[in-house]
Amino acid sequence: MIFDFAICAHVQSAPSATQDVAMSVEARERRQPWVLLAPALGAVTLLLLVPLLFIVVYSFWLRSAVGPDTAGFHLDNWQRALTDPFYRYILLNTLKIAAITTFFCALLGYPAAYFITRSSGNKLILLLLLMLPFWISYIIRTMSWINILGSSGALNTALMSMGVISSPIQMLYNEATVILGLVHFLLPFMVLNIYVSLDGIDTNLEDAATSLGATRWQAFTQVTLPLSLPGLAAGGLLCFVLGAGTYITPLILGGPRDAMFANLVFEAIITQLNWPMGSALSLLLLIVLGALVALYNRYLGMSQLTKGLG
């Protein structure tokens, strides 16, 4: 109060000068966040938004068998992307694989996250171990399954030397191995998200619940699980979106019939050199996944997701 009064008195004695100073301070404070954001905004605009705009434009062009693509506004690519039953099948299959992957990530990730939250001393080491796989290339991690599951891989060799089987079993290159590879890749994202939300839950809550007569399990299902659902949902969204957008895992661990939607984009652009069609397909996937993110944001809010990433 005294301080306020002093400022008032000062303003009255020299109004113009003080106001000028106040204005410039205010203007500087208003400018400061934009100055700090500018490099990132510039990078995002130049490297993400502008190329995306190119892709949007490309998707309305037409591919010519010879010579340059035909520029213009043609809906042919979009029509094919939306009506071709093959594309629709692959899209649904992609969403199915992403959903199954997300389910297994949640199933395996929740107990791990719970364990890390409740471990007292070595929490940091456990979190570090969780991040460790990120230091190795995703492709190498995916390829490692070939050494384990391949016909002369660790598992087949072990089974054969134990006499369980006489010739190698074909374990690789099917939908199951694609899901396995995706779970391997995405599990840390799930664990981290659940961990963040579990870590924010007061452990006294479970103690309070058990003191009121709930068993440990009831206390978990009644209190801890519902309170951690936002983290589970955030992890689920990340796993689903990353899983549905992948093309390396099905390329390395899938068979010819296990292509996912991103493989179609890869195929169209790299193999067939059909950039307009590839653009339409990639935008279709972007729209489907974007709609999912929008739904999530509508019901759970984006803040939970950023919490998990931080």
Binding site: D207, T210, L212, P226
Partner: protein
Amino acid sequence: MGAVTLNNIVKRFGTFTAVEQTSMQIPEGSFTTLLGPSGCGKTTTLRMIAGLLDPSEGEIIINGKRVNDVPIHKRNLGLVFQNYALFPHKTVADNVGFGLRYRNVPRADIARRVQDALELVQLPQVANRYPKALSGGQQQRIALARAIVIEPDVLLLDEPLSALDANLREDMRVELKNIQSRIGVTTVFVTHDQSEALAMSDQIVVMSDGKVEQVGAPEEVYNTPASEFVARFLGASNILGGRCLSRGPDGAVLEVPVFGKVIVPSAKAPHLAGEGAAKLVIRAEKLLLRDAPPESGAFSAPATVETVDYQGQSVRYFVRAGDTQLQAINMIDERPFAVGAQVHLTLRPQDCAALPG
């Protein structure tokens, strides 16, 4: 309702012993406070009674029954935490009714008992709100309602008032004590705040370094501390190290700095065995500053006022008598003594307590 007995309880965490060989009796229906500085083992003791921690040794008896192996959800105890620990995703009514759902109480009875409990804590109108929408004091009342609605054998309160601001804390202190005496539940209250302990308790257990220092009624613990720790922890005390010259039926004769020979009544020296090193405990508010030496019957010594800490109705003085600095808290009518004033310290025999050195 039940009494709680701890027999030679020990709790070790690895090599660290949090509670050493502790025994105590908590009478049925009493309000017993575990008082001590942080890290003294009071919360560990409470958590062992609750069943949140298992004692390393010893036994815990509630209602005459050994409960060491009874899991927490079967002990029928009400637990209130410092941070309230209300379930944020449940309404107040669902929070309060939580324990009743595990006790086969019919749905209609749950609603009625929840409402009764909310009325007991004077918040009948908030049943459908979420904890977030309540103030700290209101949340703590709901936490209390949730703990007592299950009619627990023992109510365990872990520093329930320390998260509240000062004024609210004093109001809640009175109200908590009222509710406790109304329902008559055996209550164990953990705090580091001596004034809470003195104001609310039937029995205070003073703890330090995992050991019980003294058990007694508030007046007993305050007036006749059993150890130097208790004397220092409760209130402001002056402790003068000296010798006990003799111990007779009329009292103990101590020779101490400042006052010379002092006779402490027997009742005030229960722990003093006989001759040897001894300490004289003088409460700061019993040490009076006077202009003139007192009439006979009181001990006296000249001193100089060094610091004056004026607090309106009372003053806290630091005075120097020879090499010794003493603290005195005196009620005053008018002006306090000035710094540098020559005064006579006055002390009545019944206001001293003696401890073995």
